[in-house]
Symmetry: C2
Subunit: 172 residues, 2 copies
């Protein structure tokens, strides 16, 4: 299984402001949606899923295929799309996707989910869209985990005149 | 006074690992030293100054000109170079540099110092060197301040095949 992180952040590594808002660009969002559509297999955490419940269904990044939600809860409110819950963390999500015949997955956040995939060594590549913002008290991309992981910078490309996408390989 | 931040960070906005180590590239360090030499006026916080006391004197980024240290202490151990202490925060540093005839300063960290300059609106441009590392529990670039500041992305350039420098203007 090949696992991609798709992340948007401020220049100081915040994936949301202190209130949980993600004031990112339309170009970032369009790029994220296109990438999720291309891969056709999305994994996210329960809190991120609940964020999507508050948004228009057109914002759902994986309308055509199954999304796996990491949660210890036995059920979550439906959103009208195909979802499968797993209580078994990153390994559980990979296992579900494998059974569905997927060879690649996109991990769409949030920070607990990205952190747990990193801790378990289950990420191969990282796409990071950097938005032109400095957030004083935002939510950190990774937290509560003592890893120090070497990456290989592959490339950068502008998504707009203001948003730069960086692409890294995770060294193993 | 024109104020520049010169920062190196991991991809997730950490300016050091949890132990305070800064495992950045030689290219980042060379670029930082060259920029400090060009501007000839460096400001840093007391903790950053004390970090330099543990390093070879050849690492000192401002050997030719005066460096202003933000600290409430009446004295600090000398390091053999020209330093002036100010208890008056960013405004105090700017005032000292103005009296020395400086028109531009480089703020060289650490996170308390960068955060206080941001809070007081005393930064014009940001250079951010992004190193290919993901640090789980590192030191955040900004902390303890509730700002949300819009930047303008000016350019990016590779310092090496692995280190990318981003350059931003702070919108006012």
């Amino acid at each position: 299984m090949k696992t991609y992180f798709y992340i948007a952040s401020s220049i100081n590594g915040c994936i949301a402001d202190k209130d949980g808002n993600t004031p990112w660009s339309d170009e970032d969002n369009a790029s994220f949606m296109a990438f999720c559509g291309k891969i056709g297999a999305v994994v996210m955490g329960r809190k991120t899923y609940e964020e999507y419940l508050t948004l228009p269904s057109s914002d759902w990044p994986n309308p055509e295929h199954t999304t796996v939600i990491l949660t210890s809860r036995p059920s979550l409110p439906p959103n009208g799309f195909k979802i499968i819950l797993t209580p078994d963390g990153p390994q559980g999500a990979v296992s579900v996707m494998s059974k569905l015949g997927k060879k690649e997955i996109v991990v769409a956040g949030g920070n607990q989910t990205w952190t747990s995939f990193m801790k378990e060594g289950l990420v191969d590549e990282i796409f990071l869209d950097i938005e032109p913002l400095a957030l004083g008290n935002g939510k950190a991309l990774f937290q509560g985990a003592d890893f120090n992981i070497q990456l290989e910078f592959l490339s950068s490309k502008p998504l707009s005149p203001q948003t730069l996408q960086l692409h890294y390989l995770v060294k193993k």
